[in-house]
C-alpha cells in the first residue's frame, strides 16, 4: 500500500474510459476490480502478518512461567513484604521509644537526689556542718550510692534495648531489595508487552507522558533521590530559604 507505488497506469485509465464510453459496464467493473485487487492483497497480507505476530507474542506471554508466577505469587507477596517492613519499623520505633521513656524518669530521679545532697555536701567540704546533719548526710549518700548502682544497671539494660531495636534496618533492607528486584522484573515484562501492542509514534508517547503528570502538588511520600531532582528541596535549609524568598 505504499503511496509512492503506481496504483493505476495511464493505459489502464484510458482503457477504463473507453470501456465506459462503449457502454461495457461489466468489463469496466472487472478492470477496476483488477486494478484495486493488488492493493487489497497487500493490505490483507499486512494484516495477516500483524495478526500472526500478535498471536505468537500472546502465546509466548501465556507460556512464560515467569509472568504467571509474577502475577499469582510475587506481586501479592511483595505487598506482604512491604507491609512487613511497615510492621518491623513500627515495632522498632516503639521498642526504642519504650526504652527511652523508661530511661528519662531514672535520669530525672538521679538528678533530684544529687540536687538534694549537693548543698549539704558543699557545707561539709567547707567544714560548716553540725554532727546531726552529718549523720543525715551519711544516710543520704549511702542510699544515693546504692540507688545509683541499680539505676546504672537498669539504664545499661535499656540502652542495650535501644541498640538491639535497630536490627530492623538489616531485615527491612533485605526485604526492600527483593521487592526492588521484583519491580524490575515487572517493568521488563511490561516493556515487552508495550513492544507488542504499542505502534505509536514517539511524539505521541511523549505527549502522553506530559499529560500523566498534571498534579504537581499531589502527595508523593519521602523523596529518596532528592540529589538527582531539581523540583524538590534537599533538607530544611532549602525549605527555609524558599519560604523566606516568599516573604516568610
Amino acid at each position: 500500500m505504499a503511496s509512492d507505488s503506481i496504483r493505476i497506469s495511464l493505459a489502464q485509465a484510458k482503457e477504463l474510459v473507453e470501456l465506459l464510453e462503449q457502454g461495457e459496464q461489466a468489463q469496466a467493473d472487472a478492470l477496476l476490480g483488477e486494478i484495486v485487487k493488488v492493493q487489497h492483497d497487500e493490505l490483507f497480507a499486512s494484516v495477516g502478518r500483524l495478526t500472526r505476530d500478535l498471536h505468537d507474542s500472546l502465546q509466548d506471554f501465556h507460556v512464560d512461567p515467569r509472568l504467571e508466577s509474577l502475577m499469582e505469587d510475587e506481586l501479592p507477596d511483595a505487598k506482604n513484604r512491604l507491609n512487613y517492613v511497615i510492621q518491623r519499623t513500627e515495632d522498632a520505633a516503639n521498642r526504642t521509644m519504650d526504652a527511652v521513656e523508661a530511661s528519662l524518669p531514672i535520669a530525672e530521679q538521679m538528678h533530684q537526689q544529687v540536687s538534694h545532697i549537693q548543698p549539704v555536701w558543699d557545707r561539709l567540704m567547707s567544714r560548716d556542718l553540725e554532727l546531726n546533719e552529718f549523720k543525715q548526710l551519711c544516710h543520704d549518700v549511702d542510699s544515693f550510692i546504692r540507688d545509683s548502682g541499680q539505676h546504672a544497671a537498669h539504664l545499661q539494660g535499656l540502652m542495650t534495648e535501644v541498640l538491639m531495636a535497630q536490627d530492623y534496618q538489616d531485615i527491612t533492607g533485605q526485604v526492600i531489595r527483593r521487592v526492588i528486584e521484583l519491580v524490575q522484573d515487572v517493568e521488563q515484562n511490561l516493556i515487552e508487552l508495550l513492544k507488542v501492542f504499542a505502534k505509536r509514534e514517539d511524539s505521541e508517547v511523549q505527549a502522553d507522558k506530559k499529560k500523566a503528570k498534571p498534579d504537581n502538588i499531589g502527595a508523593e511520600g519521602p523523596i529518596i533521590d532528592a540529589e538527582q531532582r531539581d523540583d524538590v528541596v534537599n533538607g530544611q535549609d532549602e525549605v527555609d530559604d524558599l519560604l523566606s524568598s516568599l516573604g516568610f
Binding site: 520505633a93 516503639n94 504537581n216 502538588i217 511520600g221 528541596v233 533538607g235 530544611q236 519560604l243
Partner: protein, 123 residues
C-alpha cells in the same frame, strides 16, 4: 497550650508528642488524618496544630485549607511536618497560609526553632 498532632503513622505522632513534652507542652492530642482532626478542632479549644501532608482520607494541605476557611479556626497556627519536599508543594502550603514547614527527617532542634518562631509572631 493545647496541641493537636495529625499524622497517619503512630510512631511519628509519638515522636512529635515526646519532643513537644520535652519542650514543655504536656497537653497534646492525636489524630490520624484530616477527617479525624477537623471535628476535633471544631469541638475543642486547640491552640496549635502540627500536621503531616500525605495521609489517607483528608490530606494535610486540605486540612490546612479547611482550617483557614472556618471562621472559628482561621487564626489557628499550623505547622506542617512532612516528607513532601517538592518546591511547588511548599509554595502551595505557604499560599494556603501555613505558619511553618518542616521536612522529614527532622531534628528536635528544628522543631524547637520553628515553634519558637511561630509563637514569637503570634505575640
Amino acid at each position: 497550650m493545647k496541641i493537636l498532632v495529625v499524622d497517619d503513622f503512630s510512631t511519628m505522632r509519638r515522636i512529635i508528642k515526646n519532643l513537644l513534652r520535652d519542650l514543655g507542652f504536656q497537653n497534646v492530642s492525636e489524630a490520624d488524618d484530616g477527617n479525624t482532626a477537623l471535628p476535633m478542632l471544631q469541638n475543642g479549644d486547640y491552640d496549635f496544630v502540627v500536621t503531616d501532608w500525605n495521609m489517607p482520607g483528608m490530606q494535610g494541605i486540605d486540612l490546612l485549607k479547611a482550617i483557614r476557611a472556618d471562621e472559628n479556626l482561621s487564626h489557628l497556627p499550623v505547622l506542617m511536618v512532612t516528607a513532601e519536599a517538592k518546591r511547588e508543594q511548599i509554595v502551595a502550603a505557604a499560599q494556603a497560609g501555613v505558619n511553618g514547614y518542616i521536612v522529614k527527617p527532622f531534628t528536635a532542634a528544628t522543631l524547637r526553632e520553628k515553634l519558637e518562631k511561630i509563637f514569637e509572631r503570634i505575640k
